[in-house]
Amino acid sequence: MSNSVAVLGVGMHPWGKWGNNFVEYGVKAARDALADAGVPWKDIQFIAGANTMRCGYPGYVAGATFAKALGWNGARVASCYAACASGAQALNTARAQILSGMADVALVVGADTTPKGFLAPQKGERPDDPDWLRFRLHGATNPAYFAMHARRRIELYGTTEQDIAEVRVKNGKNGLHNANARYKKSFSVDEVLASPMVADPLRLFEICATSDGGAAIVIASNEYAEKLRGKGGVSIEAISTITPTYPSTQLELPDLATDSAAAVNVPTMNFKPAMIDAAYQEAGIGPEDLSLAEVYDLSTAMELDWYEALRLCPEGDGHKLLRDGDTYIGGRVPVNPSGGLSCFGEAVPAQALAQVCELTWQLRGQAGKRQVEDAKYGITANEGLFGHGSSVIVKAN
């Protein structure tokens, strides 16, 4: 059975450090997505919001917050939180409504306003919260975790510091042509390597910033879409939001330790490849079918992890794919033609949706100077705290 739903419209509020209320970004993105879809807000039957933890109560009930701001229309509503995968989980919730026949057309919105500096835990003494403890006991920031994975690439796979800096160079070039990107500046490898060390071996320009931004998507049943616009267009063929499988032996945010593998054998696939594999299986495609990918480059080195999780190359060969030029625009499978998180910074609940917005523009041939030629299938890859992650496969019909 196909799980296909139509993408009718996408919209974004540009990423930046605007300092305004997150609702403003979400509503702007939603109105753009509705206009792009040609669907009036009052026709939307289901609205899903991706929550933000940093903007008070309205952020915890984002679906209702955006619905009220757009003007209550009596639609069913849901609000989702799944750390960095919140947007994808909201999208999957809306998709389930459509596939079950509960709704024909739905709006999904995520937006955030972020503070400066390291993402820190919420205030107060919370000794039962691993997110609080990792800061308290070890000073382990998000970049510390990214850096430990990057260090393993370097010592075990032979990736060089120049390789990971090159990821920033590639994404910087792509982002120059994206009006929604926050950083529109290209760097040389030397400039990246000259930026201050934040968490060895990762430098300031290799670690994703936190940003304000908003993204929205209108999805519908294929029948509704065909009536509205005829055949063709872009569709979502898979959304993977699976959990890891026990025992999870890769040290992940925000844990103080891994699961033990003493009593139970490790699963055949780690979390990232397992999550991607679930998306491939749902869509009935494989890595050879991909035209492009938008992946979570929370660090430059993490982009290389995704090359391997996507099975674009064998494990450990990520840097070779980059050196061969395969993941540049014009290469075999361009990765992060949007500029990625390098150029956006992370607006947590909007980011997984922004990835789908980019794939939609690419698959429609509307990506301007960053266009990937003849794109047929695109995939997103995303991972966050507490065992959350997502992968969405989008297709041009």
Binding site: W132, H138, A144, P196, A199, Y246, L251, D255, A262
Partner: protein
């Protein structure tokens, strides 16, 4: 005779490790049924999806392990971490315990830098002060490289 009060030595996480300065140990737990290990301790429902045990024993974990990976904090981490003033860069490591097949995070001992270690190096547990208040020094476990000349 000095009337100065003796500073108290306290654990930054009561019950998570022994305060034995010579041979400190992390206190983990083990499921009585499937024998899987936990750190921090786990005492309610076994997280092995094939195990329904609710019985666990507190155990001392291996005090030595091998570096799984490492990094450092180039900038002062934000609260609730209490950063030194003036700030000094410190290193962190995730260490794999062979017997328990667990990877446990910790700081590297004071003065150990990222240039002093490699993945796979053997390290052992030590205790150092994490932060202080007016009366007490709060202790935390850290990892320090095992020197060849040590017994």
């Amino acid at each position: 005779m000095s009337t100065k009060k003796v500073r108290e030595i306290k654990s930054a996480r009561e019950g998570w490790f022994t305060l034995d300065a010579d041979n400190p140990r992390l206190l983990g737990s083990q499921c009585d049924v499937c024998k899987t290990y936990y750190f921090p301790q786990h005492a309610q429902y076994c997280r092995n999806p094939d195990c329904e045990s609710e019985e666990f024993s507190v155990i001392e974990l291996s005090s030595r392990g091998k570096i799984w990976s490492y990094t450092n904090a180039g900038y002062p981490p934000p609260p609730p971490f209490v950063a030194d003033d003036p700030y000094e860069v410190f290193a962190q490591a995730a260490v794999e315990l062979e017997k328990e097949k667990l990877v446990i995070l910790g700081q590297l001992a004071k003065g150990v830098t990222v240039d002093d270690v490699k993945i796979g190096d053997e390290v052992e547990l030590c205790i150092e002060t994490l932060f202080q208040d007016d009366e007490s020094d709060y202790q935390i476990w850290k990892w320090k490289p095992v020197n060849g000349d040590q017994a």
